[in-house]
Amino acid sequence: MIDKLDSTLRFHQLALNLRAARQEVLATNIAHADTPNFKARDFDFNTALTQAVERGRQSGSLPMAGTSSGHLPGVAGGGVDAELLYRAPAQSSVDGNTVEMDVERVNFADNAMRYEANLAVLGSKIKTLLTAVQQ
């Protein structure tokens, strides 16, 4: 039962983790808008989420040892391992910095909105589960 609850929410956990990580990468880009030779980074959210789900389905790289048939298959999760890429700048600057503030700001706002959307969906899912529990 607990396992089922966990697997219902795991997808959202993965997605939120990745959104938070991407938010951090974009925050770094904005922070380094004036650092010479800094190259703007980002990762492809779709690919990263697909990989994370795949990894979860293969029951994890770090399974817990089960010594009895009654033990639940615990999976170590939470680590974010996304492949960081470099952004191709539309207009590069003289000091070798590839941060384009408009692009970063748009991506940051977009990512924040999607994070909130994800939270909303997760919240309603939890409410549904709570309703089922209380009946």
Binding site: A21, V25, A27, I30, A31, G79, L84
Partner: protein
């Protein structure tokens, strides 16, 4: 490449950027204030200073905050002004003034202020998101 897993990282990153930008603003203020200085305490005319930003990632991380690596002095030639009445004038009647370029410093100041604002906005967004996360399921 591993990315750290706590949204608290955003606060560190944006905070370090704000510190760095305000340091840049400080240097700009010093340059602008000394634009007309003729001699510092060492007897030498003031030279414009610039901060150099650098990435400061935590060990094993690909991303990280900003740190001011060093403050460099501008080596461009001093501004020579003809003013024979000045006690600091040389034999030809020229006084060496600081090499601050006021226009450049103004641009620097506006750029620093804009970057600071951008980071404040990042911080606010991160804060909103974290507060929303705390109320999930309620």
């Amino acid at each position: 490449m591993p990315v750290s897993n706590s949204s608290l990282g955003i606060f560190d990153i944006a905070g370090s950027a704000m510190t760095a930008q305000s340091q840049r603003m400080n240097v700009t203020a010093s340059n602008l204030a000394n634009a007309d200085s003729v001699a510092g305490p060492d007897g030498q005319p003031y030279r414009a200073r610039q901060v150099v930003f650098e990435m400061a990632p935590a060990p094993g991380q690909a991303i990280g905050g900003v740190k001011v690596a060093r403050v460099v002095e501008d080596s461009s030639p001093l501004h020579m002004v003809h003013d024979p009445k000045n006690p600091l004038a040389n034999a030809d009647g020229y006084v060496a003034q600081s090499n601050v370029n006021v226009v450049e410093e103004m641009v620097n100041m506006i750029s620093a202020s804009r970057s600071y604002q951008a980071n404040v906005e990042v911080l606010n967004t991160a804060k909103t998101l974290m507060l929303k996360t705390l109320t999930v399921g309620q």
